[in-house]
């Protein structure tokens, strides 16, 4: 294999300079208007999804009005879906499940990916070969199809869906982590840590990992967005969990009515779009902020 870094998110991992992501990065991030806008947008979305259900305690599954009432034609601002459920309530309540799926799946992918990548990059040799074979195995399998197959193995519950998404999206993280570990373990301060015979675990977790974090954080953020899109896609194909209100589920159960009613599909679609967009903007901003080469300009 070539040793060129090929991470699919198109990120440039930090090059020569090693400094913990700190004030400097934040200063850079703040200067990036798009990234700040993304952050504000994401915070608003999270706030609505967390506080909304507390402030307006309703049952999003309740049939409240005639089915497919357009927005503005009743007291329900976003109209009703094909069963007559409030679309606004669905969006507010469904956001939590969607975000939880996205974040949990992304964390899962990072945990698996970093573990595999760190072992490979740090130990090298046969461990590296083995880990990379496993990674390659998951990389040649088509992610969406594998996730669909996994979900059909068990029943389509939110947990299964989350785990399936996590399992298919870690290989890119592993490759990135491996590249970072390979690079950092050559550096002076790691050699110094070895010289004082610190344990492997200590070196991996306390010395190398903190320095490898910046690109991994960016990737975790982007994976969250991808996982949310993934959940929506699975729901669209009918592999969602109908007993849990989520944005994907709303799209999945209303898609058959799209030609006569745009709102119960479009509005959750916009919610997904805005969430993923804000995450992408933040990820972009973080990437620029962590990337010293860009900082020079």
């Amino acid at each position: 294999m070539t040793t060129v870094n090929l991470n699919p998110a198109g990120l440039e991992p930090a090059a020569a300079e090693i400094c913990p992501p700190g004030r400097e990065a934040w200063r850079m991030f703040r200067r990036n208007i798009a990234a700040v806008a993304g952050l504000v947008m994401l915070c608003t979305i999270v706030l609505v999804c967390v506080l909304g259900p507390v402030v307006f305690p309703v049952d999003p599954f309740e049939i409240v009005w005639a089915p497919l009432t357009p927005p503005g034609e009743s007291e329900y601002l976003f109209g009703t879906d094909y069963l007559g459920r409030d679309v606004l309530a669905g969006i507010v309540y469904g956001g939590k499940a969607t975000l939880v799926v996205g974040i949990t799946a992304a964390l899962l992918s990072v945990v698996i990916g970093v573990t595999i990548g760190a072992l490979a990059g740090y130990h090298g040799g046969w461990v590296d070969s083995l880990m990379m074979r496993i990674t390659e195995f998951f990389q040649v399998l088509p992610a969406l199809l594998l996730a669909m197959a996994l979900i059909t193995l068990f029943s389509p519950t939110l947990t299964t869906i989350t785990v399936a998404i996590g399992i298919v999206s870690w290989p890119a993280v592993a490759r990135l982590a491996r590249a970072e570990f390979l690079r950092i373990k050559q550096l002076e301060f790691v050699r110094a840590a070895r010289a004082i015979s610190a344990s492997d675990a200590r070196i991996i977790l306390r010395v190398i990992l903190p320095n490898a974090l910046p690109p991994l954080i960016v990737m975790a953020a982007l994976n969250t967005g991808t996982a949310i899109l993934f959940e929506a896609g699975l729901s669209f194909l009918g592999l969602g969990d109908p007993s849990q209100m989520s944005w994907g589920m709303m799209i999945g159960s209303n898609r058959d009515y799209i030609l006569s009613a745009w709102w119960p599909v479009t509005l959750p679609g916009i919610a997904i779009f805005l969430t993923v967009l804000s995450i992408s903007l933040i990820g972009d901003g973080l990437n620029d902020a962590f990337n010293p080469k860009l900082r020079e300009r």
């Binding site: 599954f61 309740e62 497919l68 069963l83 029943s155 009918g238 969602g240 007993s243 159960s253």
Partner: protein
């Protein structure tokens, strides 16, 4: 309704009746214009095209174009001559004699003979999932090439309906009689039949091209040169295709939003005729062996809590038809005096209270799950509807999705479920499509669409056994009335509605079949009155 029953009586041929048919089916007013291509849009992708070994609409629709059958039906349940120009049922009901037309040939030029009929009956009897259709047939005698006599072990009132286009395709013995398993026969992908159209190309999941059979035994027909069957699984796609005039015929459509939209277009017509034969019901089935659903009062309470009017009016946009019992409205045997289970939440709550299911502190009496066949928007919507609706009577209801059809079939056939939405067809005669759901002898673990409710009532068993051998339609109707009354009261199933199938077609088309089998009968009379530009 009464008149329909009488006609039905008449044609079944009571006492040694020789029901020689009265010639050709009525032709249209204008002189049919030959030529043109029909683009037929469908959501179903058939596995193969041999309806002798495969039930269902997907195969049934194209197979009715490819194969001819002994009989066809009009819109009043009267059998009409097809390959059999006349037929008679013996007075004792123990034999049926078919006199075949003499000029029928298969697409490869070989003549259709009584041997092919005998072979086809045998094949269907052995391999078709609907065992009850030809079960009593002990032998088929072929005294000459154009006479076939079916010998029966006992009188069998469903025998003539079982000879309909969708149920008894006449297969060429010289092709299927080669010893290969007909279920996996290579010819199933491009079969040779004696029907009005020949298969030109079958591209699974995409299209089937059928071309005019020049040597069709009904002279001058069919009128169309070609039929292209296009498989489009997505409802919105189907609707736009019809809207833009790229499709001309769309049958078995149950996405009512789209139908309501298409109905308003000038170039399209919509009909609900042609579905009397299949009698498609959608229902909520209970696992009657499982707590607390083994309690009749609980099942009745749930039936009272479901607002059937909401389903047919709001969910189905007023295009739905209520169904009150196991026999679909439209069948001459459907009873009109059944408990309708109109929405009555008070009564439902009272029934549950009396049965001893008290509400807990959270207002919940107990929890159940609802399964449904995946991939059907109608079934999923009904399952989702039950969640908020049954909450009103304190039953916590969770839809339990199945990722794929086999998972659902596995759960339901192995009785590993609480309740399930299901779509079940009557298939013409109750003996074919209704008995299987209620006979206690048909509680067969592992077999889907058997009596998966585990419903057992000896009185019902007895009534059905009697009805399966009774040739007098009036007596039979009495038996079925009693059967329906008992089953509706026992409520192993809550009947939700008739599946609101519609046929949408281009107004330039004439003679789109509106008989009881609809498009599952030959389209040999269809022609372009005013072809699209």
């Amino acid at each position: 309704m009464v008149r329909m029953v009488r006609k039905f009586v008449a044609c079944l041929g009571l006492a040694a009746a020789l029901a020689v048919a009265a010639g050709m089916p009525p032709t249209a007013f204008a002189e049919p214009k030959p030529g043109g291509t029909l683009v037929w849009v469908t959501q179903f992708n058939p596995r193969h095209l041999n309806s002798a070994v495969q039930s269902g609409v997907a195969t049934g629709m194209p197979a009715a174009q490819i194969f001819a059958s002994p009989l066809r039906y009009d819109d009043k349940w009267n059998p009409q001559p097809y390959l059999a120009e006349s037929w008679s049922v013996a007075a004792d009901g123990l034999s049926v004699t078919l006199h075949l037309v003499k000029n029928a040939t298969f697409h490869d030029g070989k003549p259709v003979t009584s041997k092919d009929v005998a072979f086809s009956v045998k094949t269907v009897k052995e391999h078709h999932p609907f065992k009850s259709m030809f079960e009593p047939v002990t032998a088929v005698e072929t005294p000459d090439p154009y006479t076939a006599i079916l010998r029966l072990a006992h009188p069998h009132p469903a025998i003539l309906l079982a000879m309909s286009p969708a149920l008894l395709p006449i297969l060429p013995e010289h092709i299927y009689g080669d010893g290969q398993d007909p279920k996996t026969h290579p010819a199933n992908m491009k079969p040779i039949g004696a029907g009005p159209f020949k298969v030109e190309e079958f591209k699974s999941g995409d299209y089937i091209t059928l071309v005019r059979n020049e040597n069709y035994f009904l002279k001058g027909r069919p009128y169309l040169d070609r039929i292209v069957v296009r498989v489009i699984p997505d409802g919105a796609n189907r609707a736009i295709t019809m809207e833009r005039g790229e499709g001309h015929l769309l049958a078995y459509e149950d996405q009512l939003r789209e139908i309501a939209r298409l109905q308003k277009l000038d170039h399209l017509a919509v009909t609900d005729k042609g579905y009397e034969g299949v009698g498609a019901l959608v229902w909520l089935a209970f696992n009657t062996r499982k707590e607390p659903l083994n309690n009749k009062a609980v099942r009745q309470a749930i039936s009272y809590a479901i607002d059937k009017s909401f389903i047919t009016k709001a969910l189905m946009l007023g295009l739905g038809t209520r169904a009150y019992g196991p026999i679909a409205p439209g069948s001459p045997f459907a009873s009109s005096a059944l408990e309708p289970y109109e929405l009555d939440l008070d009564k439902a709550n009272r029934l549950l209270d009396e049965a001893g299911f008290k509400r807990g502190a959270d207002g919940v009496r107990f929890s159940i799950t609802v399964d449904y066949i995946p991939g059907s928007p109608l079934q999923k919507s009904l399952a989702e509807y039950l969640k908020p609706q049954l909450k009103k009577i304190g039953i916590q209801t969770e839809p339990r999705p199945s990722p794929d059809f086999p998972t659902w079939a596995q759960r339901v056939s192995n009785h590993d479920f609480d309740t399930t939405i299901d779509a079940v067809f009557n298939w013409g005669d109750p003996v074919i499509g209704v008995h299987r759901t209620y006979l206690s002898s048909n509680i067969q673990k592992g077999v889907i669409w058997s009596n998966t409710q585990s419903y057992a009532n000896s009185q019902v068993d007895q009534l059905l056994q009697q009805a399966a051998r009774e040739l007098n339609p009036d007596v039979r109707k009495q038996l079925y009335n009693e059967f329906q009354r008992i089953v509706v009261d026992d409520a192993p199933i809550s009947y939700l509605a008739l599946i609101p199938y519609r046929t949408v077609y281009h107004r330039g088309l004439a003679n789109v079949p509106e008989n009881i089998w609809g498009v599952m009968s030959p389209l040999d009379e269809v022609y372009w009155e005013t072809p699209p530009k």
